[in-house]
């Protein structure tokens, strides 16, 4: 979306020197461990590949409206390990996912029961790097019930957990998410607490959990605040993601934040930790992430050829010339 500097609604007009310039990121690679590509276009995939994103995790989530039958869930999970994975590979981006029942839809108990029955068929699939995103939204009894059941499933499957923390009553909700995880015998290093902010970060880190931050305009974190958090808390167990979805969000949030950190004097090593390495360490505990798959995206199948052409390297999908009104 284009921001017009004269728009009175725009609280932060573009400052000189901070126009999008990712040249400083040259030779860096990024891992966005939370992004809902189902809701994004091929233009996004192309831009992400160009900006250095080599791998992503797509957590199972709420699609913007409630599903009414079990087959909708089955087809959704199946698309995360099928079509979306293939679509991503066409742009040279390695696609992983986490599988789970999101908190909102946990409130439809009848359906939630059925979802719990099919989850075991999906969590052991190749490239499933965790149970997620699960946790609390309204913090209802039903949400609590299915959060707990899925923590048990994660423990059984020895998979990390990607925990969504609520927008409302966030501090309480975050505390409670961690308490319950410990109560169910999960080790803090197997749990990634997502959507942190200045209010929650200290506690999450002190208790040994991973702290993920979502750079999402207007509603979650801005990346200037993110830089301040890195300055204050360092880089250990801190992860940055975009959580880009069907809302006004930014699939380039991770590389943009890396560029901003560089401008603000954060070291290259530290930038690499929070935009790449830490996510791999955290979700790699699933045993499902091989870095050598990133550069070739051939981990899916060594003999793989992509739809309609025989490319094996990323970023080589045919391009459309966006500067022309001619479409061939």
């Amino acid at each position: 979306m284009c921001c017009c500097p004269t728009n009175p609604d725009n609280e932060h007009p573009q400052e000189p020197g901070l126009l999008v310039d990712l040249a400083g990121n040259a030779n860096m690679r990024f891992f966005d461990p939370h992004i809902h590509m189902t809701s994004r276009t091929t233009d996004d995939y192309q831009a992400m590949a160009d900006a250095g994103i080599v791998a992503i995790i797509e957590p199972a989530f709420w699609l913007g409206q409630a599903r009414t039958g079990i087959d909708s869930f089955r087809d959704y999970y199946s698309s995360l390990i099928g079509w979306e994975r293939f679509r991503s590979s066409q742009f040279g981006i390695k696609h992983y996912c986490t599988i789970g029942l999101n908190s909102r839809e946990a409130n439809n108990e009848k359906l939630a029961e059925q979802v719990m029955e099919i989850l075991p068929s999906f969590v052991y699939k190749e490239g499933v790097v965790g149970i997620g995103e699960i946790g609390y939204d309204d913090q209802t009894a039903a949400e609590d019930k299915y959060y707990r059941l899925q923590l048990d499933l994660a423990k059984e499957a020895e998979l990390p957990v990607q925990v969504h923390t609520p927008h409302r009553d966030k501090k309480q909700g975050t505390q409670r998410s961690m308490d319950i995880a410990l109560e169910h015998g999960l080790e803090p290093h197997m749990v990634i607490i997502d959507h942190n902010n200045e209010e929650t970060v200290k506690d999450v880190l002190d208790r040994g959990f991973w702290a993920a931050f979502t750079i999402y305009p207007f509603t979650k974190m801005g990346n200037e605040r993110m830089v301040e958090i890195i300055k204050q808390y360092g880089t250990e167990r801190i992860i940055i993601n975009s959580a880009a979805d069907w809302g006004i969000s930014d699939p380039l949030a991770v590389p943009k934040t890396a560029a901003l950190m560089k401008v603000q004097g954060i070291s290259k090593e530290d930038i690499e930790l929070v935009t790449y390495r830490n996510a791999i360490t955290a979700f790699g505990q699933s045993g499902q992430i091989q870095e050598e798959d990133f550069s070739s995206v051939s981990g899916i199948d060594q003999s793989q050829k992509f739809e309609g052409n025989t490319i094996l390297r990323g970023g080589q999908q045919p391009r459309i010339d966006k500067s022309s009104i001619i479409i061939r």
Binding site: G82, S121, F122, Y124, E126, G127, D301, S303, E307
Partner: protein
């Protein structure tokens, strides 16, 4: 059916044993036994998914005599070039021991919940799945996929479509192969199943491409040559005027294999190419 499964497993054992650690092979054996005995699908579904984390995904080292043995015992079935996870998955599927309805339900369940690699694996198993008539609709559905690897699993080195697909589905497969730039030389039975409706659809497809100023895969004429007639001979005549040698070669090949007299006479336009065709220096596979 159980005998066929047993035979296939016994042929796979030395290949798998050589490729994976003993602990992985023991795991596979144990799951195979349980799958063989279970009435439900819980062991089958979970172990089928878990194979790559146990066995890895390296390309399998298979000797020529092992390939030949399987080809001979299983009607041309080819596992050459497969990754080890696919071979192990075949081993598990070959362990299913149920009567027709239950067997079909179990395998269909694997298809339904499959991720991308599993789906490709399952389609490549088509020639050795029991009750072959049960997989016709499933295969037609696979041809509708837009996932390249899935299409290739059905199209390449796979004798099932050739043997079992009804003509409309077969034609869909061939058309889609051209549409998605596949190597049609690897489609089993391509020439044997050439037919008039397919030739006519392919000629239309060629016209569409030409109207859009796009190239036409010259292999397409291979499926038209037996059906050249007064309606489409002008397409072949145009090929002889093409600046590219490959198109002119395709033109000579098409006319050489045609039974339509006016087409057969056209070969004289390219005597040098004709010589290569006559001496088999040039054929459709080498084109």
């Amino acid at each position: 059916m159980e005998d066929k499964g047993k035979l296939l497993r016994s042929l796979l054992v030395p290949i798998i044993k050589r490729q994976v650690p003993t602990v992985t092979f023991n795991w596979l054996e144990e799951k195979s036994k349980l799958i063989n005995e279970e009435s439900g699908t819980s062991v089958l579904n979970a172990s089928f998914s878990a194979v790559p984390r146990k066995a890895g995904r390296a390309i399998t080292d298979i000797s020529q005599s092992e390939i030949d043995q399987i080809v001979e015992q299983f009607n041309g079935f080819m596992i050459e070039g497969w990754a080890i996870d696919r071979v192990c998955r075949l081993y598990l599927v070959a362990s299913i021991n149920s009567d027709e309805n239950i067997y079909s339900e179990k395998v269909e369940g694997l298809f339904r919940d499959a991720e991308m690699n599993e789906l490709s694996a399952l389609y490549s198993f088509l020639p050795v799945l029991h009750y072959p008539e049960s997989w016709i609709l499933r295969t037609a559905e696979g041809i509708r996929s837009n996932i390249g690897t899935v299409l290739e699993a059905i199209m390449y080195q796979n004798s099932y479509p050739f043997q079992y697909l009804p003509e409309p589905s077969w034609n869909q497969l061939v058309l889609k192969a051209f549409f998605t730039d596949k190597d049609v030389n690897r489609i089993v039975g391509l020439d044997e199943r050439a037919n008039k409706p397919l030739a006519s659809v392919l000629v239309d497809y060629a016209h569409e491409r030409q109207a859009a100023h796009r190239t036409v895969n010259p292999q397409l004429w291979r499926l038209v040559c037996k059906f050249i007639d007064e309606k489409n001979i002008s397409d072949i005549e145009k090929l002889f005027e093409d600046a590219h040698i490959t198109e002119r070669r395709a033109a000579v090949l098409a006319c050489y294999h045609s039974n339509y007299e006016p087409a057969r006479r056209l070969v004289e336009k390219e005597p040098a190419i004709l010589e290569d065709v006559k001496s088999n220096k040039l054929n459709w596979s080498s084109l």
